[in-house]
Subunit: 457 residues, 2 copies
């Protein structure tokens, strides 16, 4: 069994386990109490805060432990927006932020605020210039991830922070995916992280708020964590989180170099091994351990199940894995194919053999899933008779509309048109993406009607 879903969660790091076990006996008491058990707990908490602050690159009194990365994001965004209410009500985010950020943005809109989403290139990367231009005078807060969780693209955080500093807008950086690999450079104002992403325990998020940033903690008052995170402190987990972050960092450079080479192998060989496949995400500015590709004529969930059965645990940005049927907002913002999307994120220690086994198994797995769905085989040569054909794929879910399209494209002459009737939301993304990959011309959509013109291949 190979676990290639590090970006979702990692097993507990040995250092985290050791620190957790040691502090279960020392860190269970209430650190607000004056008795010796309380004081002992307080000392552990203070030491963990110092260590984690050093890893983050902030002062201990700027760092708060929250119940999760999501809590850190929700609190950081709501607190900074409330603290800057007089400056304005606009929130600027990139279109590829984590759903926790986008959900916080929706809550801000429901409360009467406004949100501007900054788009990304096909690589998933924000343009720093465009970022700077989005910062109006009424902007209260801007949020940019350090690295994308679905495709691994690094964002130009340092330049974005410079733009924000010039515009006097605080920048919140969601560093959940990059924090294991190193501190976030630049003049950020707020930063969040999540311990289980680096092999720390679940139940620990980090929220850094630089001194001088206006901040009004949301929700009911609470004395814990200087009012920034309500609820009894989870000290054993916090100690384990801080210790493992330090341990992971000590090996980050060497491990990044090693995994980067393995990912390079996957990036290069998957398109050659599996026809009609596109590797997505920035080829240069990227996380060392993560690679994402999309396969035509396959649905993501079926592919995940088939890979799981073959002994590989991967994830997908598309469709049903997150209990929703909508295509990933990240892939949509990038304008790349969402169907058959696979995210491979290698945990530290992944061997070359694991990766070779994966590359050996993948072509057969994809072929079987495609065959099961009735995907087209080799294209029929020559042209058909009809100048226009209509395929009715209404009521059929992704990837079936694209499969239907691919089956008939060679039945119209070069220059002829196929009209696809499709009401699955993913078709809006996947039909243009299919055209881009196969070289046919996407002529536009009107309601549920998509027009594709056959181009000579």
């Amino acid at each position: 069994m190979s676990y290639f879903d590090a970006a979702s969660s990692l097993p507990l790091h040995p250092v985290a386990r050791q620190a957790l076990l040691a502090s279960l006996d020392e860190g269970w008491a209430d650190p607000a109490r004056v008795h010796r058990e309380g004081r002992r707990a307080r000392m552990l908490l203070d030491a963990a805060r110092e260590s984690a602050a050093e890893s983050v690159g902030c002062r201990p009194d700027e760092l708060y432990f929250t119940a999760s990365g999501t809590h850190a994001l929700h609190t950081g965004i709501a607190g900074a927006l409330a603290g800057r209410r007089r400056a304005g009500r606009r929130l600027v985010v990139s279109a590829v932020e984590h759903s926790a950020v986008l959900h916080a943005a929706q809550a801000h809109e429901r409360a009467g605020g406004t949100v501007r989403e900054v788009g990304v290139a096909r690589s998933g990367r924000v343009d720093a210039q465009e970022w700077g231009e989005a910062l109006d005078t009424d902007c209260a807060l801007a949020c940019l991830q350090s690295a994308n969780h679905e495709v691994g693209t690094l964002q130009p955080v340092e330049e974005a922070a410079d733009h924000c500093a010039r515009a006097d807008v605080p920048l919140l950086v969601d560093a959940a995916q990059s924090l294991p690999w190193g501190p976030v450079p630049g003049r950020w104002a707020l930063l969040t992280g999540s311990a289980h992403k680096w092999g720390g325990p679940a139940g620990v998020g980090l929220l850094a708020v630089r001194t001088g940033v206006r901040f009004a903690p949301p929700g009911p008052a609470d004395e814990r964590e200087s009012g920034h995170a309500p609820g009894f402190e989870n000290i054993p987990a916090v100690v384990a989180a801080a210790a493992s972050l330090r341990a992971v960092r000590a090996e980050a450079d060497a491990e990044a170099a090693r995994l980067r080479a393995l990912v390079e192998t996957i990036r290069a060989r998957v398109p050659a091994l599996v026809p009609d496949t596109e590797v997505v995400g920035d080829p240069v500015h990227r996380l060392p351990h993560l690679v994402t590709f999309s396969c035509l004529y396959v649905d993501g969930e079926a592919l995940l199940h088939a890979l799981d059965a073959a002994g590989f645990s991967v994830s997908s940005g598309s469709s049903c894995t997150s209990s929703t049927l909508t295509p990933s907002h990240v892939l949509r913002a990038m304008g790349v194919l969402s169907e058959g999307n696979v995210r491979v994120s290698l945990p530290p220690g992944t061997s070359e053999e694991d990766v070779e086994r994966f590359l050996g198994a993948l072509p057969g797995v994809v072929e079987r899933v495609r065959a099961h769905l009735g995907a087209p085989g080799a294209p029929v040569q020559g042209g058909g008779e009809e100048a226009e054909l209509t395929v009715d794929a209404r009521g059929k879910l992704c990837p079936l509309p694209v499969i239907e399209l691919a089956k008939v494209i060679d039945q119209v002459p070069v220059g002829g048109t196929v009209r696809v009737l499709a009401d699955d939301e993913a078709a809006r993304l996947d039909i243009p993406a299919w055209c881009e990959m196969t070289g046919h011309a996407f002529e536009g959509a009107e309601g549920t009607v998509f027009r594709v013109r056959r181009v000579a291949g």
Copy 2:
């Protein structure tokens, strides 16, 4: 060293430790993923939910795991208020609820809602009749703790729930202190708990919402816990929490009987051993393991430090222990003395010898703290010359105003008056309480002037 602060937090129960260790290896993955690590995590989570729901007395699909008891309360209150917005904007709470409830109530008021506090008797107990009368037609939610965290008084939850059901108002029960001892009876609508109060790990709260209760989760949307608790699930901790609750319950009746006898001993002997001391809280309707008393002429923090030095870890509802200088809102609502308040809460397994050692040490500890503060010794017999004396204790903190008063009361003749000038907020509570305990007559306060008439003793 004897740890008598179970009501704050308990060391990890052996069953919790065992379950935590076992599930660290099985429960670290994302339960929303379809791969085998994700499915394994999901199975652990589902099993923990079934077990905890059985302990709580609800259906598994009515129970959500939150990041802490405080999160459960904040979410439960905000969610129920939002869900019942059309029914009204009034929140009814008892005056002795946990600060997490009162802070949520303040947040509700800031958002335009109204709050009615129902007072308590000198025992700390709500009158069920009065509770029923507080439920107006515009009442959206009522909150009543099952047992008070500072004095151990049990509330008439079952009758309160009946009143609520008749008025068609959902009742939220904060069961943090009583849940280790048994399920909460009656027709409650929502219920909260906190795992570290029963020997489970920190980082786990319970929120039960009965089917049919209107509920709109507050804050940004999130898919975890059916939208009731954002953030990555802390499965190893949740498993440990559920397992230890079951284990604690298996021994609850026997342990309750044993600790009840030890508490009875403390209740009976402390007033005899330590002069000018009052045991507070309901003598009959009370938690088995908790007893609170207040000592005149002592400040709570000094007493905690002295007891800590003598090897006893206890807590105090009064003053500085929670980093605020205001007297406990619980003791104030009860109208009892707040100065020199000590809460003894015995963990399971406390031995008779531990309690005897405590009772042996307490009189000397209190005496030393009193001597250090210059507390009065034996009363001077006879009366003084002046019919009215004035003591200026402005700028002096509790218990100094009461100490000054006690020093001079015998310098006025029986029927004479002492005027105490005191601007510490605690004096408002402690001077009347002192009168009640010593038999002198409190004649009222005007601004910072308190008038006390000497009565023949």
